[in-house]
Structures are given as C-alpha cells and as structure tokens.
Amino acid sequence: MTALELIAAPLIIAGVGFFLVGSLGVLRLPDLHSRLHAVTKADNLGLGLIASGLALQADGLAEAAKYLAIWLAILPASAVAGHLIARLALRDARTAEAHKPTRTPS
C-alpha cells in the first residue's frame, strides 16, 4: 500500500459508512421531513468522502478534478431537490388539513 492509498482507504470507508447511515435513515425514520434530512445530509458528506478518496488515487490532476466536480455538482442539486420536496410535502399537508372537514370517508 502506498501512502496515498493509506489516506484514501479510510476516506472511502467512512464515506460508505455515511451512505449506509443515510439509507438506514430513509428506511427507519418516521416521516418524510426527517427522512429527507437523513438522505440529503448523510449522502452529501458520504459522496464527498468517497470522491476525495477516489481523487487521491486518480491518474493525474484532470481525473481528480472530475471526481471533485461530481461532488460539487451533486451538492447544490441535492440540497435544492430536498428543499423542493419538503416544500411540496408541507403544502400538500396544509391543503389536506384545510380540506379535512369536508372530505367524505370512503
């Protein structure tokens, strides 16, 4: 094992750990908002750790930069997607609340 691999391996393993915890959160947490919380935060950190680990082992600077670019592209996308889903869920919940008394049981 080279020195770079010695640094990269713990990063990747830690990243996989964050992904595992995030996925567990999606499966185990009680409602949509807490699930979003788990998946957007834990997965972003996990991906960052894995991308850093892979970048350390990349052939050359261009490949390393691509790994980091993937992470930088995912960060805002995941944050905004989580934000949009949460807003929509909140709006749906409010409309459902407003319509509750008039709704006929089926």
Binding site: P76, A77, A79, V80, H83, R87
Partner: protein, 340 residues
C-alpha cells in the same frame, strides 16, 4: 485474493441486474386499481431509477457511450417527458377510474389487457430466441476489429462516433429524421403548455448557475465525442435539460429561439446532415462519403448542428405543443437555452 477480486465485480453486476429487473417489474406492476396522478408519478420515479441503474449496467459492460445516452435521454429526458405527461392525469382518479372500470365494459378491457400482455410476452420470447440463435455467430463475426482497421480514415478516434457519424452515418441521419417527425407531430397538438410559476427560494438561486453549467457540459460532451465517450445525442439531451429547467422556472419558451427561428433550429440537424451527405455525393460519388483529412471537420459540423437540432426537438417535445405561440417571444431575447 485474486479470486475475490474477480468475484466482486460479478457480484456487483448480479446485484445491478437483479435491481434492474425488479425495478422494471415495479414500474409495470403494483396496484392495478391505483390509476391516479400520484400512482403514475410513483411509477415515473421508479422508471428514472430503472434508467439510472441500466446506465450503470451499461457502464459495467464497458459501453460508456450507451451508458451516457441511457442516463441523459432514457432516464433524464424521458423521465421529464413522462412527468410532464402525468400532469394531464386527474389528481384523484383512484376511486373514480377504478369505479368506472368496474362499472363499464370491464370484461372487454380485461380481455384486451390480457391480449396486450400475451403479445408482449410472445415478442419477448421471440427476441430471446433470436438472441440465442445469434450468440454462436458473435465470436466469428465481430465488427470491432473491422472498425479499428479503418478508424484512422474516419476522422475521429472514438470508434463509437466513427460508426455513428461516418461508417453508418446513414442510420444516424434516419434516427434524427425520426426524432424530427415526432417533434413536428407534437407541435401540431396545439399551443405549448404554460410554464410553471416562477418559484421562489433556492431553485431560483440555482438556475443562473445550473443553466450555464448544463450548456458548458453539452459543449464538452460534443467536443469530447471525437476521442472519448460523448457525442451529439448526449450533448443535445444536456442542452434540452437546460431548456426544461428554464420552462420549470417560469420561462415559457423553454430556451427555444423566437418563433421565427424555431423551424430552422428544428431542422438544423437533418438539413446540415443532408447537405454534407449530398456534398459527399457530388464530390466523391458516395452519399455521406467522407474520409481522411476533411472527415473530422465535417463530423464536427454535423455533430454541432445535430446537438442544437436535437436539443430544439427535445425541448419542443417537452413543451408538448407549438412553442412558437404568443408567449415564446417575450423570453426569446434573453433565453440562454438551446440554439442561438
């Protein structure tokens, strides 16, 4: 250790394959009675996940070009198209439609459903049989070496692009013509859908970064296609994604040019392709016949036009109607989307 190193990729492939098949079953199957918008959206999300896993499977088979196309078009753009289509469904059809189904001519509908299922199953078995019969021929009859021997004359060093844009350029021309036909047919459906209301908050902040990044990525994919995985279809899908983002954030033109220029943008791909093909016929006596030094320039010319044209056609399909209506003009001046 080396055996483990061999087994691990196989195990990963097996997991991927199983997930793809299970996801396909989930997209098709599930609750027969739930037919409302929410159920359709659930299926579309599953379909997008299916497309992304399929792309991973292609990548693991060593076909990154196909993987890119599957991720960009199969999962990404088709997903957006299907999502747009779910808007046409009634919100709470779950009770009404299933009630109508049971009250109406249910036996006929059921019989038809069975007939369709039977037809698909029979076709799948036919395809599997054909694949089985053609498997022994694969070893003796591979085209890879043949492509590699003529690769230096094709003008590009990516064998996939060499086949698509030079050796079998005629097929690609027809493929783009099919897309043009579909886009033209969709434009006859009436005016385009109105854009979504401009969202407040984080998405609005993301758009000024996302759209230029998508255009830059499209340009990169177009350029890199000559020597590495990429090309006009993937680049076109990226540009079209920029158009979809614009439409989703309140710009009704979806980044298409003004109505006056839209027809030109739509036919750009086929027109330039045909022009190059006819020039080949006049100069070399072969339709689409270009070899040697000029080939790389001609391929870049075709691919640039194809990228812009494909993007225009895909955005047009996403808008779901004639994008050249009264509302498209207002955004045309600032629309940073597809063709300029």
């Amino acid at each position: 250790m080396s055996e483990l190193a061999k087994l691990l990729p196989m195990a990963l492939d097996l997991i991927l394959l199983t997930s793809v098949v299970v996801l396909a079953a989930l997209v098709l199957g599930g609750h027969r009675r739930a037919t409302g918008r929410n159920d359709a959206r659930r299926r579309v999300i599953l379909f997008i996940a299916f497309g992304l896993l399929l792309a991973l499977l292609w990548a693991s088979l060593g076909a990154p070009d196909v993987a890119l196309a599957e991720a960009a078009i199969g999962a990404g753009f088709a997903g957006a198209l299907l999502f747009a289509a779910t808007n046409a469904l009634p919100v709470e059809a779950e009770n009404k439609v299933s009630a109508a189904r049971h009250a109406g001519p249910a036996p006929v509908g059921h019989g038809l459903e069975w007939l369709i299922n039977f037809g698909i199953a029979a076709f799948a078995i036919l395809l599997l049989g054909a694949l089985w019969l053609s498997l022994p021929a694969l070893d003796t009859d591979r085209l890879g070496p043949a492509v590699r021997t003529v690769l230096p004359e094709t003008g590009v060093s990516n064998p996939v692009t060499a086949v698509l844009l030079n050796l079998r350029a005629f097929d690609t021309l027809l493929e783009i013509a099919v897309l043009l036909t579909a886009a033209l047919a969709i434009r006859q459906l009436g005016p385009a859908r109105a854009a979504s209301a401009a969202p407040e908050g984080m998405l609005t902040a993301l758009v000024p970064w996302l759209v230029p990044a998508l255009i830059l990525t499209a340009g990169y994919l177009l350029w890199v296609g000559a020597h590495a995985p990429g090309g006009a279809f993937q680049a076109g899908a990226m540009l079209a994604a920029a158009g979809v983002v614009l439409h989703l954030t309140g710009r009704s033109g979806g980044g298409l040019p003004s109505p006056r220029w839209q027809p030109w943008a739509l036919i750009a791909a086929v027109a330039v392709f045909l022009a190059v093909g006819l020039a080949g016929l006049a100069l070399n006596g072969v339709f689409l016949g270009y070899r040697g030094a000029s080939a790389s320039v001609l391929i870049l010319l075709i691919e640039t036009a194809a990228t812009l044209g494909i993007a225009a056609m895909l955005i047009s399909a996403y808008l779901g109607g004639d994008g050249g209506g009264d509302e498209a003009g207002d955004e045309a001046g600032q629309a940073p989307g597809a063709p300029r």
